[in-house]
């Protein structure tokens, strides 16, 4: 069944290349729009409600730093810091069960933060939806490209949705699948062009979104457990020997 279809060169000129160019341009546009929107957000006077959330964030960062650098401070100071964090009554990391639920509910009912999340989500979803609709409307019903590797028959319905012949090789795909291929493949290109990995990576963003709700209670208790586990071994006495070794290497 591996007959070689001869495809019109006009398809190359008017389908593949414009679609790729449009997607690249939309990605660049989205990057700049998100940059502009971020610079418009003035610091919110409602810091009180967000303040609790940010405070938890900072506490987590401090606890993490303490865990990482535990061996560089004296045993006594490490222990006192650890008690400060994981003390049963008023330690910063200790969150009683009832309060944990409260925090989550507070997070989701906060209209400001919800709107923020919605805005970020929308700026991602709308261009994708629009482009997909555009592709479906204009570029359906013909073979657009041939993918260089063979696939099984099960992919036929997914990749060849506009083409109603069932004997055509599955490698010949419609423009919808070219759209999806571009969607995933251009992420790497965007990270090269636009500097750093940014809003074009939707899967990372979605993980971040779902992470917000559980951020306070679970990660606090996780940090507390981690801190409790740490075995302190003071490394400073050995540093003199190390300095001596390094200097010897330099001098000799």
């Amino acid at each position: 069944m591996a007959e070689d279809l001869v495809l019109d060169t006009a398809i190359r000129d008017w389908v593949l290349i414009p679609l790729s160019v449009v997607m690249v341009l939309i990605g660049i546009l989205r990057y700049f729009v998100s940059k502009l929107m971020r610079s418009f957000q003035t610091p919110d006077p409602k810091i009180v409600k967000e303040g609790h959330f940010l405070f938890c964030r900072q506490v987590i960062v401090r606890a993490r730093n303490l865990r990482a650098a535990a061996n560089f401070i004296t045993p006594k100071s490490f222990r006192s810091r650890r008690v400060y964090f994981s003390n049963e009554e008023n330690g910063l990391l200790f969150v009683p069960k009832g309060q944990a639920q409260n925090l989550q509910a507070q997070m989701f009912s906060d209209p400001n933060m919800a709107m923020d999340m919605m805005k970020k989500n929308l700026s991602m979803i709308i261009p994708q939806t629009l482009t997909f609709a555009w592709v479906n409307f204009f570029f359906s019903g013909f073979v657009a490209a041939k993918i260089p590797f063979p696939l099984t028959q099960r992919f036929r319905s997914m990749l060849q949705n506009g083409i109603d012949l069932s004997t055509v090789d599955v490698s010949y795909v419609s423009s919808r699948s070219w759209y999806f291929l571009n969607l995933f493949g251009l992420r790497g290109l965007f990270s090269l062009i636009l500097g750093e990995e940014n809003a074009t990576d939707d899967t990372q963003r979605m993980m971040q979104m779902s992470g917000f709700g559980f951020d306070p209670s679970k990660s606090l208790s996780a940090e507390k457990d981690g801190l409790d586990i740490v075995q302190h071994e003071w490394a400073l006495p050995k540093f003199e020997h190390r300095a001596e070794a390094v200097l010897k290497k330099l001098v000799s």
């Binding site: 593949l16 490209a145 041939k146 993918i147 260089p148 590797f149 291929l181 493949g185 290109l189 190390r242």
Partner: protein, 120 residues
């Protein structure tokens, strides 16, 4: 070329070779990881275009992708002067990081070049 000159000027030492305690400078590690990611993405795009022009199909194309990734890994290791532990925290990072993302870009550019050259 831009990718390679980037990596040549910006891989920084992220840990000091100590006997017992390992200290990592997080910022440098992040920078090194970014360098690996850029190098891999760049190489997979170029590899995709080459595979398409040469007309690789099916399995050969994926073998070529692994070959390109291996060359990238070897290049990165050679750049780190073979002392991987002073630049990264584990072997896995320099070998496997960015593999999947690179695969998608490779397939896209492979399809693109293959179509333009062979079915044009």
């Amino acid at each position: 070329m831009a990718g390679h000159s980037d990596s040549s000027s910006s891989e920084k030492k992220s840990s000091e070779a100590m006997n017992d305690v390992l200290v990592f400078s997080a910022e440098n590690m992040q920078n090194n990881t970014k360098v690996i990611y850029y190098s891999r993405t760049f190489m997979s795009i170029i590899g995709g275009v080459i595979a398409g022009i040469l007309g690789f199909t099916g399995f050969m194309g994926f073998v070529f992708y692994f070959l390109v990734m291996a060359i990238t890994s070897i290049g990165l290791i050679a750049k780190a002067k073979f002392s991987v532990h002073s630049y990264f925290d584990s072997w896995n990072r320099i070998i496997l990081d960015g593999f999947m993302g690179g695969l998608m870009s490779f397939v896209l550019f492979w399809t693109f070049a293959y179509d333009i050259v062979h079915i044009f």
